[in-house]
């Protein structure tokens, strides 16, 4: 199964990194993802995906490896996992391209993800329709958790914009709703320029929860948290990966492993694939 994501995120490449934090916290957003461990700095991570549908249990130890990278531009990685009990295997190859857009008033970074997935094994063949459906549900859950996470980050509103009232959660964009059919494009990133479409970031209370202060990236220029308006071909996975990429950039900037941002989307993919066996 192949998929593509083509998204414009309202941030600079390095700002995306600055927004988010903690590796463990990112993993916590992926339903079923546990025991995230950096195995080799800048190179590989391990995690365990656990899922349950009725009586069927799945436990997929996953290994994520960075094959190659070009700093702040591209990374090629793979995620491989196998669940011994059910004989389910997952194999993902992914190329992520970042391209910061110059020459506009607002920060924009183009995100391009191209991935191929293989899921094999008895549980996947016996229960493919349900496995696929559960994947979509997982993505939606990840998306919801991530959005909630982003909406708690502070100071991400551009100072000059006439953004909506800070506490008004009701301005959460409607495009947060998962599209029922694959292939339906979400609101385009052009919407990102419209302040009323942005997530209103709540007041700085979240900052107190952070373990480290954000780096010296200018807070005033950062876009509304959670305004991840994406154009994608495979909605569930697309949102999942793109946002995970953003999250991971943030984690990196805060002194965690620099290459977490490569691993996180893979974990997001692996989470959905882990679903496949469930």
């Amino acid at each position: 199964m192949d998929f593509r994501i083509d998204a414009l995120l309202p941030a600079t490449a390095s700002q995306l990194w600055a927004i988010f934090f903690d590796v463990k916290r990112v993993a916590g957003l992926i339903p079923g993802c546990e025991n995230v461990v950096e195995v080799e700095k800048l190179k590989s991570f391990s995690a365990t995906m656990r899922q349950k549908i009725g009586p069927f249990k799945l436990e997929v130890p996953t290994r994520i490896e960075i094959d190659s990278y070009d700093i702040e531009r591209q990374v090629c990685l793979k995620a491989v996992g196998a669940d011994k009990a059910t004989g389910t295997t997952i194999d993902v190859r992914m190329v992520v391209d970042l391209q910061e857009q110059r020459g506009g008033e607002d920060a924009l970074c183009k995100l391009d993800v191209s991935a191929g997935m293989q899921v094999a094994g008895r549980l996947a063949s016996l229960g493919y329709p349900i496995v696929r459906k559960r994947s979509e549900q997982l993505f939606a859950e990840f998306e919801a958790r991530l959005r909630a996470e982003l909406s708690h980050l502070d100071g991400s509103r551009p100072a000059e914009d006439d953004s909506p009232a800070a506490d008004d959660e009701s301005t959460l964009p409607a495009q947060a709703q998962p599209a029922p059919q694959p292939g339906v494009a979400a609101a385009t990133a052009a919407g990102a320029a419209d302040p009323s479409a942005r997530n209103a970031a709540p007041p700085p209370r979240a900052a107190a929860q952070r373990r480290e202060p954000p780096p010296a990236a200018p807070v005033g220029n950062a876009p509304g948290a959670g305004t991840t308006e994406l154009v994608f071909l495979w909605p569930r996975l697309g949102i999942n990966v793109a946002v995970a990429v953003g999250v991971a950039h943030g984690a990196v900037a805060l002194g965690q492993s620099p290459w977490w941002w490569l691993a996180a989307p893979l974990l997001g993919v692996a989470a959905s694939l882990g679903r496949r066996g469930g």
Partner: protein
Amino acid sequence: MRARKFFLHRPTDLDEAIRLKAEHGDAATFHAGGTELLVALKAHVLHYEHVIDLKQIEALKGVRLRDDGTISIGSLSTHDRIANDPIIRESLPGYAALSEHVANIRVRIAGTLGGVLCFAEPHADAPTLLCALDAWVVLLGPDGEREIPSRDFHLGEFTTARADDEILASIEIAPQSAGTRSAYRSFGHTERPAVGVAAVWSTDNAQRLSLWAGAISACPTRLSRAEEAAAELDGGLPAEAAWGRLRDAVRADAQAIDAHDDLHGGADYKRHLVSVLAERAIKACLP
């Protein structure tokens, strides 16, 4: 592959079966026809060290008519038994016909109604009609007995309201009024239905139509717009005219169903099938 080893228990009464399950907990499972369990055990996608065979328990067998006319189907009743049972054929011919067309003869001989309901694979026939008939299930567990309507029993894929330590004892269907007809139509290119629609039409009931679609989503789904439209209809309309008044409501219901592309068909195709099968099922109920 070969199934991994287990203890096979053969309790002869319900208390013993419930006790065994309580004793072994998650390591134990109930076994009836084995049409789902044994496939999963052989494929090693499930594993239990204790298999509790219920087939010796007489209380779970048989189809009988209670004093108030309620049809009580023992959970160990096979599809073949139900299809050929005189009580079912007399009172619920639509359900007898459904049972006659489940999968293939070997599955009908071995597979039980209790097993279909408890395993809760969405692509099944019986749950849809049982919901339309307002059937309910009787569950027995360490804490006693309880009853749950079919529509509340099915919670999702492989998920029901039955607690792990409970046994589904019987399926109960209220006596049908003289003016009630029921029918089920399904379609699938494998042995399991892609979509099934069950219609229960009463000429002597103000509510008139109970219409449910199954297999297309995680659990059977009521087609409520169609039911509301049917309540507005004059009595005695011939089949074609009745359908003409219900068609748009059925289509609206079908469009609202959360369907997914899968090996049974595309989501749009399955929603389309809902309308096609609803027409056939409704017309089969009408003169």
